[in-house]
């Protein structure tokens, strides 16, 4: 399973492209972080990769097949989007939310049956949320909601999951729970594209990283090689300090004006 974007250009209105010549490639077993500032086009990129937006030029290929040649249903069986968590209006149970992921496996006139519930349970089990299957989704924590949505993507049967800022609004413990779950799944021959605001998460969990800078992809490669002062400055427009661990970069922090300068 291989998902590839080749020189994708996309704009919402003429003359203002959000993405310009974006190229990336991800295959099973890998977890790729897409880093970029607010408004750099991360969400648009995810939707282009999923085939929900059609690039003006360039193409997205899934196993060498142009994605627009697949039907909406076929796409959904190969590719899943895990959206940012949102406040739902109705109190569906966790199980019912995951079951909705079975939609691409069902025809218009059929309803989910025993095998679909089984798939939903297996998916919930893989993210460690099976005990919450009957709990209303509205009464779960942010981290549990994100895991529920991951399970929904797994229930789709998708081997490649695109995640739009899965760790936004989560505390470090829950970030770790989500990202280590993804890491484990990636080892099981899933491919993940994760957009994020946290370079450190890319360093700790990512196999690959790519920076999205004003709609261009740059500094694509291994996180410990590509996350450095220049790439961070280009992406975020500010200076970063690099903290080196044993043999490699282990963390980056924004350089703030030292407080003791005044003293």
């Amino acid at each position: 399973m291989r998902l590839e974007a080749r020189k994708v250009t996309y704009g919402y209105s003429a003359g203002r492209d959000v993405l310009t010549d974006v190229s990336l490639s991800i295959e099973s077993g890998r977890m790729m972080f897409v880093l970029g500032a607010n408004g750099s086009g991360k969400t648009t990129l995810v939707q282009c990769l999923a085939g929900l937006r059609v690039p003006r030029t360039g193409c997205v290929r899934l196993d060498e097949l142009p994605i627009e040649q697949l039907s909406l249903r076929e796409r959904a069986r190969a590719l899943g989007i895990v959206p940012q968590i949102h406040e739902p209006v109705f109190d569906y149970t966790v199980g019912e939310v995951v079951l909705m992921g079975r939609a691409p496996q069902l025809t218009m006139l059929s309803r989910p049956g025993r095998s679909d519930w089984k798939a939903a349970r297996i998916a919930l089990d893989r993210v460690g949320l099976l005990p919450l299957i009957d709990r209303p989704y509205t009464r779960t924590s942010g981290g549990e909601r994100q895991l529920t949505l991951i399970a929904r993507g797994l229930a789709q049967g998708a081997r490649c999951l695109l995640m739009d800022e899965p760790t936004a609004h989560l505390d470090p413990t829950h970030q770790h729970r989500i990202l280590s779950t993804i890491q484990t799944l990636a080892r099981d021959e899933y491919a993940f594209v994760v957009t994020s605001h946290h370079p450190n998460n890319a360093l700790s969990y990512g196999d690959l990283v790519v920076f999205l800078i004003e709609g261009h992809t740059e500094y694509s490669g291994l996180p410990e090689r590509m996350i450095h002062k220049e790439s961070l400055a280009a992406a975020y427009g500010m200076e970063f300090e690099i903290i080196n661990g044993i043999g490699s970069v282990c963390a980056v922090i924004p350089r703030t004006r030292p407080r003791d300068q005044k003293a």
Binding site: Q47, A50, L52, S71, L72, R73, E74, R75, A76, R77, L79, G80, I81, P83, H86, V89, F90, D91, Y92, T93, E96, M100, G101, A103, P104, M108, L109, R111, P112, P136, T138, R139, Q156
Partner: protein
């Protein structure tokens, strides 16, 4: 727990059937149950007058109450889901206001029962078509459609006001007022057939796709990422829902609250999953309107308009749900 829910559903369904038979016996001229069964099954023994009363007067009315209640509630449930708004009812999208104007115009121009029914349906369709046009022009997001519905309703309310203003205050105006309050009196087989012809296939469609209706509660990109072509599906469901409501309102006049409260009742019973909510809304809606209509024609010597009864019972019921909703929210925080 799931089998327990299924059992209580079938219990309610059989209770509704029993209520329907009881409703045939009740009225100004009570009919013994045995004669009701004799008439229904075509057996000898019931007097000709009794048979005619049961089969020609009460049966069409009971069937109408069941169908109208079922349609308003089922479509209310569907609309609340697809507009992601628990305050929406089946009259959203201007259906009720359009129908009210159409009925009023007919009462003014050609005051026959068929013309009123036809006029109400026609203008309900016009109203929804206008909302559809707004949606087609500005994007069919739930918000656009709700705002379109509010605007079109306002337009038809003004037009209705105009018709009332010019109507004869001694004959036509009371007729309009009475129609607006909603009633099933005067229902007979010949006025019932459009409702029957639409209700059965319409409800069957909603029942078949009921699980998929859950996907309409998601945002458009989210549903599309699950492989559902939301736009087509949403328009088809809107069309079916509209026809079901329009044909009901054309026969019954304005009956509020059923399409708002019954979906809440079924959600409280079985959760928001449409797999359970659609069947339970159909049965609960049918049962509620049947009971209300039976009260409306038996409680006093003259009929109590249905719209008055649904409001008197619907408002307190809604308050209870609202209170429960607030309490549930506090548990989260």
């Amino acid at each position: 727990m799931k089998t327990k829910r299924a059992r209580s559903f079938w219990l309610l369904a059989s209770l509704t059937a029993a209520l329907a038979v009881a409703a045939l016996a009740l009225g100004r001229y009570p009919v013994p149950l045995i004669d009701v069964f004799r008439s229904l099954l075509g057996l000898d023994g019931a007097a000709e007058v009794t048979r005619a009363l049961v089969l020609q007067v009460r049966l069409p009315r009971v069937v109408a109450a069941l169908c109208v209640g079922a349609n308003l509630s089922a479509v209310g449930a569907v609309f609340q889901g697809m507009f992601r708004n628990p305050l929406v009812d089946s009259g959203i999208l201007g259906i009720s206001s359009g129908a009210a104007f159409g009925a009023a115009v007919s009462l003014l121009v050609v005051p026959s029962a068929a013309a009123v029914q036809g006029g109400a349906f026609a203008f309900a369709a016009v109203a929804v078509a206008l909302v559809g046009l707004i949606g087609w022009r500005f994007g069919s997001s739930p918000l656009v459609l709700i705002i379109g519905g509010v605007l079109v309703s306002a337009l038809f309310n003004s037009l209705l006001g105009l018709v009332k203003y010019v109507a004869d205050p001694l004959s036509t105006l009371p007729a309009i007022t009475y129609w607006l309050l909603g009633s099933l009196s005067g229902t007979n087989w010949s006025s019932l057939w459009p409702l029957l012809a639409v209700t059965l296939p319409g409800l069957l469609f909603l029942l078949i796709v009921r699980w998929r209706l859950n996907l309409l509660t998601l945002s458009e990109t989210e549903a599309m990422s699950l492989g559902v072509s939301v736009r087509t599906f949403r328009w088809v469901v809107l069309l079916v829902g509209t026809v079901l409501v329009a044909v009901s309102v054309a026969l019954s006049g304005m009956i509020g609250w059923i399409g708002l409260v019954v979906p809440h009742l079924s959600r409280a019973w079985g959760g928001p999953d449409h797999t359970r909510m659609i069947p339970s809304s159909i049965v609960l809606g049918a049962a509620s309107l049947l009971v209300l209509d039976t009260v409306s024609r038996t409680a006093m010597t003259s009929e109590i308009p249905l719209g008055i009864l649904t409001g008197l019972i619907g408002v307190p019921a809604f308050l209870v749900f609202f209170w429960r909703f607030l309490r549930a929210r506090e548990e989260v925080r």
